[in-house]
């Protein structure tokens, strides 16, 4: 039965078997494994890529979020993503090794020129995968690296057209992602399949290129000895890749792409030599970036034309072998130099550390709160009380933060407006936490410290505290405070709704949400500080929603401790 089945298959696949079972002159060796290792790595890319594409959503609003989801929330997602990303690096390394080996073996010589050129095309495709894949994450690293790459391409003749074609219009946006996604998952894989097919088919026509000097030896079939060596090599390469991916816990993911935030863009490691070359070229950087790939490509493409002697022994072809090896050594040196330059830059290290922290915060927030439908950067807005805190940071901090050098008003921090705060104010209105740094404090208009027995101060404090709308007011003290207020405060102040005092502000609802909204809108209103306040009016600068949010934050601060504020986390 088995025999009949084998014969049935053999009869129908003879032509294929003839092509694939040609032998290697001189027999099997680890020298011939590179091709199959590359096939394995392409398989890893195809498989992991398919899995990733089942999650990835190419739009500016969802790209980063979906990648972060794969990385941090899908079981083994980090592993698959890591294999895909680092597998591409492995492809570049093995492709490079395969290329150098082919050059040393003289495998590009007649009649194998086409195999060599198709191999160069494949190398180019692998780099194309890298460029198109890196931007898909839509994180800071991928987004800005793409800007550099597109920038270089734009400076080439016809570059503007290429840029429009790549980005899908005039700027980075949804079409940039959909187009690079199509290139990465449809176009390039298709082209790769065709070119790999042609590369392998033509190379089989001419047989494996044996080591020099072995051409005349008897050919031994690949199966099973050479195949075993191929599989062993594949297993070793995959084991190394897997180990590396596990050590790195997958691939990196920086903070969501932010067109407004600066980032130290660095290309993928296999483009670092070009990056370094641009630095070295100084004002000729654009020229260097364009010329270097042309020179490298030209040298490699031209090899079969200049090195035409049939003898493949490297000793007899030293200039050519030397040129290729020298080229890759140069690329290696430039790469190392680029990394060494970064390693010695303390300022860069600091910025990178800050970027790393931003990335971990964004990813932690994405796991905890999900990413808003408006897009990746808005994940930062999911922290508690983002809106008022962001406004405070921007509009209020310089005058009201305890650590501000140009503080002009009272400190606004945890406990602002609570009993202790109010009591402290009554006892020393121009004290350090209060009006000390205001212009008012230096004038005769400033309120004088209230000098009353401690019990009266406590009652007055309770009365003012009751204005905030707090629910834990002591009614006895409060009512006692009313009598004290009438005796000691009504010359300047009023507790009637909307009524200013004689020379000071009205205190009705002091510290309530509505009070804060009104005060923020216009501190110079008669019922508030009139002309005595230096604080700007925010009624036009901030929307009603924004003012209300800030007011809510101020109310929250009254009952908050410093630990509560710290627990909100950074913005």
């Amino acid at each position: 039965m088995k025999k009949r089945l084998t014969e049935w298959m053999a009869e129908r696949t003879r032509a294929l078997a003839d092509r694939t079972s040609v032998g290697i002159p001189g027999g099997p060796s680890f020298a011939y494994v590179a091709g199959w290792v590359l096939v394995m790595l392409l398989g890893v890319e195809a498989l992991t890529g398919t899995a990733l594409s089942a999650f990835y959503a190419p739009s500016t609003a969802s790209a980063w979020a979906s990648v972060a989801y794969i990385q941090d929330q899908v079981p083994l997602g980090w592993l698959v993503r890591g294999l895909h990303y680092h597998g591409a690096s492995a492809l570049v390394i093995v492709c490079g090794a395969h290329l150098v080996q082919a050059a040393i073996f003289g495998a590009y010589k007649k009649p194998r020129e086409l195999v060599w050129w198709l191999g160069l095309v494949l190398m180019l495709i692998v780099l194309g995968f890298a460029v198109s894949g890196y931007v898909l994450r839509w994180d800071q690293a991928g987004y800005w690296a793409n800007h550099v790459e597109i920038g270089i391409a734009t400076s080439a003749p016809g570059g503007t057209l290429l840029k429009g074609l790549a980005l899908g219009g005039n700027d980075y946006g949804n079409l940039t992602l959909t187009r690079f996604n199509t290139l990465h998952v449809v176009v390039l894989p298709g082209v790769t399949a065709l070119v790999v097919g042609a590369h392998v088919w033509i190379s089989r026509l001419h047989n494996t290129t044996p080591r020099w000097g072995r051409d005349g030896l008897a050919a031994i079939r690949r199966w099973p000895q050479q195949t075993l060596l191929d599989v062993i090599a594949m297993a070793i390469v995959f084991a190394v890749l897997l180990g590396y991916v596990i050590c790195q816990h997958g691939a990196g993911l920086s903070a969501p792409a932010d067109p407004a935030a600066a980032f130290d863009a660095r290309p993928l490691w296999y483009f670092r030599w070009l990056f370094e070359l641009r630095h070295l070229a100084g004002s000729y950087e654009r020229f260097a970036a364009l010329a270097a790939p042309v020179v490298v490509g030209g040298l490699l493409v031209g090899l079969p034309f200049v090195d035409r002697e049939p003898d493949r022994s490297p000793k007899k072809r030293l200039p050519y072998v030397g040129a290729v090896v020298g080229l890759f050594v140069l690329i290696g040196v430039l790469t190392l130099k680029s990394y060494a330059g970064d390693a010695g830059d303390a300022e860069l290290a600091k910025r990178e550390q800050a970027a790393d922290m931003l990335a971990s915060r964004a990813r932690a927030l994405a796991v905890k709160n999900g990413v808003p439908v408006t897009g990746g950067i808005d994940v930062f807005k999911t922290v508690p009380m983002y809106l008022p805190r962001a406004i405070f940071e921007q509009k209020c901090k310089s005058c009201h933060a305890a650590d501000s050098k140009d503080r002009k008003g009272p400190i606004i921090a945890a406990g602002h407006g609570n009993r202790a705060w109010l009591k402290g104010f009554l006892q020393a209105p121009s004290g350090e936490p209060y009006w000390k740094h205001t212009r008012l404090a230096a004038t005769e208009d400033a309120m004088a410290p209230v000098e009353l027995p401690p019990a009266d101060i406590d009652n007055l404090t309770e009365l003012l505290y009751a204005q905030t709308g707090a629910t834990d007011v002591d009614p006895v003290k409060r009512d006692a405070g009313v009598a004290t207020f009438k005796k000691a405060c009504t010359d300047c102040h009023s507790l009637e709704e909307g009524v200013a005092g004689g020379s000071g502000p009205g205190l009705a609802d002091l510290g309530s949400r509505d009070y804060y909204t009104s005060f923020l809108s216009n501190p110079k209103k008669a019922v508030h500080m009139a002309s005595k306040s230096e604080m700007p009016r925010f009624e036009t600068d901030l929307t009603m929603t924004e003012r209300d949010a800030v007011a809510g934050y101020l109310v929250w601060l009254r009952t908050a401790s410093a630990a509560d504020v710290a627990a909100l986390g950074p913005l």
Partner: protein, 165 residues
């Protein structure tokens, strides 16, 4: 040697394929879309007049987590609501218990536009009319501080008995 080659090759293929397959099937039994299980505010009680015919109310979730996104005010579906008297409040899911199309009401009967299933004014199935196997699904509804609060539940489709999906 042939066996070793096949075993090693097959093993390698398996090791490569397993993580990718694991990731692809990961969402199968995971709760990737989280809608509120708490009652959802569907408007003021005054919207529903006592004795008026069934009225359709959109059920809008304040927050929905869907894989990587968090979205506010997401429409989940709609419910038919009426108040036969001051004390009584009824709500029916507009999801057809057959295959999930949105059921309409013409003043007398409920009708599903997809396969012509029909229900009486009380939501009871008119068995001869179409393929649906059960009455329309009632939804829990209460009034808190003058606001209608409806609990959105999806039931298994095309079954005679009612089980949460």
């Amino acid at each position: 040697m042939k066996a070793a080659t096949c075993a090693l090759g097959g093993g390698l293929g398996l090791v490569i394929a397993v993580p990718a397959l694991r990731v692809c099937v990961a969402p199968t039994n995971a709760q990737t879309v989280t809608t509120p299980s708490d009652p959802i505010d569907v408007g003021a009680i005054e919207r529903i007049k006592v004795g008026a015919p069934w009225q359709r109310l959109d059920v809008i979730a304040p927050l929905v987590k869907d894989a990587w996104t968090t979205a506010h005010d997401v429409a989940l579906g709609s419910a038919w609501v009426r108040r036969p008297n001051e004390q009584k409040l009824e709500a029916l899911s507009s999801v057809c218990p057959h295959l999930g199309c949105a059921v309409g009401f013409d003043g007398q009967t409920f009708l599903c536009p997809c396969h012509n299933s029909k229900w009486s004014d009380s939501g009871a199935l008119v068995a001869a009319a179409g393929p649906a196997k059960r009455d329309l699904d009632p939804l829990p509804i209460t009034v808190v501080d003058g606001r209608l609060r409806l609990t959105w539940v999806r039931y298994k489709l095309d079954t005679a008995t009612r089980e949460p999906a």
